[in-house]
Amino acid sequence: MTIDAAVLATTPSDIEHRNGGAAVAETLLAHDVDVIFGIPGTHNLEIYRHLVRLGIKPVTTRHEQGAGYAADGYSQVAGKPGVVITTSGPAVLNAMVAAGTAYAESRPVLIISSGLPSGTDYLDGGELHDTKDTLAAMASMTQWSVRARTPQEVTESIARAFELMLNGRPRPVFIEIPCDVLAEAWEGDVVHAGELSTPKPEQTAVKQAAELLRHASRPMIIAGGGSRGADGQLRQLAERLQAPVMTTCNGKGVLPEVHPLSLGAHIRLPGAQARLNQSDALVVVGSELSDSDLWEGKITATNVIRIDIAASQLHLNAPALVAIHADAAEALDQINSLLGDDSDAADARDKPGTKAQADLDEFRKSLIEEARVDGEAWFELNTQLRKVLPENSIITGDSSQVTYMGTVHFFPVPTKNSFLYMPRVATLGYAVPAALGAKVAKPEAAVVALLGDGAFMFSVQELVTAVEQQLALVVIVVNNGGYREIRDQQAARGIPPVGVDLHVPDLAALATAIGAVGETATDATDAAERARVALSRSGPTVISLDV
């Protein structure tokens, strides 16, 4: 898309105000941005001035934390970067935890804020929103943190940001624009992100990988968040090799979880890891193999093939025998074509319906049993929900037991980006705003947030945003009277419970007060049924379930 500045600046006042703020809005539009999440403030108005005329919809959240998590959820479902706009100082810092989350979970989120007037840095002079060093702070949470010092630098840095987010490992970017630069006249043109070429797989490595796989008798695949762009290729490889696929939380659904070769996202379980470690050719696609997914487990298999767009991940946490630094789709394509149709490997093993498949089905059942050992409390609710919700529903989770001991295991999903969660950063208050962002990205999808009472309170204000935007979100809050996980951990260390038993508000009444529908469910089946009904409402519903 090319933007002709003269056409865009339609009214005399807009022409008069073609400034740094216009550079933001026009460049965003040129990069296919049609919605932003944020809060207007005294310093950032020159950006807001241009949004409406360009048809970019601002979603005003009730806290910048919510804007950040919403953009994160949005990015996964829309398949393009999520954009946050905040004002200076406290507003940026309020979004910092979301930047940290997007960094840890590899999500393309662009945060743009106004900044103090040029030249007032480090003066500690007590200006409005005076902040010591926002750029440095945001550098600690993003892949790139930069200040644009002229309107032309504004459009250039936004273009660079899109290049960074769309190529390589997606991670957040922060751009600060001093408020005087936002108001400064701009005569330049919009800069467009250039095409960057992603690293191509190195041929020897690809051949080695294919060779290893061709002769493997127990090939397996781990699909991480970085495999989401390669779901087709991954499926092809799995089917060709008849290799079972286990995903991390961020990879959940890359292979449909009802697929006969899917082993779900049970990777935290020792039983799952034991099986993976017996593999004689383990393909790891786009995963850190991190402790936050493995829960103190380790991948110790020796014949590991790792494919990653980030070189730094190729040997991280488990050394690779074959390391392929490349875009996952391209690498898998090449491996697939080397394996060809007449792969010995696939032939060497039985086809579905045979003994191997029966073994796999048995193993899958055993994983569910294993997950139920600590997750029994969450089994029924997730299972019932899975029964009644449309197949393509999007479900979001939080750092609550119902998510990581529940939804991860007991709510199979048919595609990637259907389960929005953040296993590594493990923040609280993610599920509701992420669901909001998902619903904005895909209004026709059924979007359900399933989370604990503790997590719910962290972002409770964003329910108002959902009401205001008339989004039919379904929020299911399981109320176990507080921070159950931490209470358990205190008990395990012989510490009497401190700060874990919460006085929980009347959740249904709270929802009603905020303008949503509020309901209290009697049991898991009832909650699921209420969720199903709620999907067809015109605004959000909160269903509270005491457990």
Binding site: I39, P40, T42, L45, R49, V52, R62, H63, Q65, P90, L93, N94, M96, V97, G100, T101, Y103, A104, D124, G126, E127, L128, H129, D130, T131, K132, T134, A137, M138, S140, M141, E288, L289, S290, D291, S292, S312, L316, R424, V425, T427, G429, M457, V464, E468, I486, Q490, R493, I495, G499, L502, H503, V504, P505, D506, L510, T512, A513, I514, G515
Partner: protein, 539 residues
Amino acid sequence: MSEQVKSESTSLGAYAAACLRENGVEVVFGIPGTHNIEIYRGLTRHEIRHVLTRHEQGAVYAADGYARASGRPGVVIATSGPGVTNCITGIANAYADSVPMLVLSPGAPVGQERRDLGFLHEVKDQRSGIAQFAAASIRVESRGALEQAINGAFLSWRTGRCRPVHIEIPSDLMGSPTKGVVAPAWLGSAPVAPEGQIGAVLAAIQNARRPLIVAGGGCVESAAELRRLVEATGIPVVTTMAGKGSLSESHPLSCGALAGSSTEFPPIASADLILALGTELKSAPIGHETIVARFDLDPTQLNKHHRAAIPVLGELSSNLRSLLTTLPGTRRADPDWQKRALDSAQDCRRSAEDKWAVFHEAIALGAKNSAPGKELIITGDSSQVSYQGTLQAAVIESPRRFLTTDGYATLGYAVPAAIGASLASKGIPVVAVLGDGAFMFSVQELATASELGLPLPIVIYDNGGYAEIEQNMEEAGIAPFAIKLNRPDYFALASAFHCEYYSAATPTELEAAIGDALTDVRPSLIVVCEADHQNTSWR
């Protein structure tokens, strides 16, 4: 502090609590998590009260309110990664407003900082972000380092400008055993200025025709000395937002508090001597000829914005006491000048008073009825009702009675700060007064206030959203959008959180609601709608 010196064996995390206790900490605010629970072991053992908030943002603002109300450092316990990152706005706010605050958290395991390994709660670089906004962010890996960091932070607040400190203990060391005698707190006091400087101030006072005192946030511990100075010299006093009440605003020489920019108070420009007491002075339009004597604890402040003709470094109360001993016999400020300053103050206040005086009178009366003889604490936010309303219209008699986010202008401060202030000042009534926009930023902390059973009136001035931003848009010729907000049904919201609810359409109703709310056993939402506030009973 510790009666008997004894050696005890404990974990490193729990030992942190022992050090806090040695420094007199009685209350901490926070949220427990996987990595910080060893600190919680210590809290129980050392009988430190833990106040659980519903978001770490609430914990930092509550600790901030606690510190501002009491003058004692506020302490926060957060977990690693997202937990401590959630504290960052509150840390920056405390930095901007010079509040003594300690944030204690776990950090990356030893040797795993900035390695991008994927462990639980791992962010890119937890500490360097915080370091931008704290006086220091200190990582400690041993018992000795931990006690030095904690003792050092408390010492710094006893001896210098107060600013927040972050200390982190690697999560893998939290549980490591440690044994020994608990290190005693480090005592110390701030330096005082050399006599020559005090003499120079005296001479300047004697020569001045139009002297003025500007009292800032650095003055809140020196109210008694300030009053004696004013009474000895007759010099009128204007305060900043942070210094509000340092001289009682019903004192005949009080010019009240400066609104936002000090340009609006003309005597600043016409004074020939300004005694600036613990203030940044910001953009005050001080004349070139004006002699400025600056009293400050922080040497970097002495010439900031305006060069000090007479720099007076050191602890303010001591320096004022030295000055006071030299004062007897000094000439008093010219009555015409006093009148000029006081008249200007009256003019400045008038516009605000038209809109907000009755509103604040009603709050004051309600408080007086239910808690006679006790002076109210009001907390505020970045809402017009605070920085235009309370700042100008509330008559505050002592320092530490109007607690708000000053230059940093964050949102969501008033409610958690009121919780902290309530815990700091038992028996003193606390009222939060804020806008509807600000209220939503911390709405979850209603659960905290409710759980604590605080008799806390929360007065929400509901003007339908972000009025300030709407006005800014109009001024900039932008058709306002994204600022009109859906608000909750406050009545239903209050009951969901087990709070009381009042709607106040008239000053009498507001007064009555405040009175009732302050004697309740739970918090109350008191809502004043802009539409009602237009009616004549508020004029």
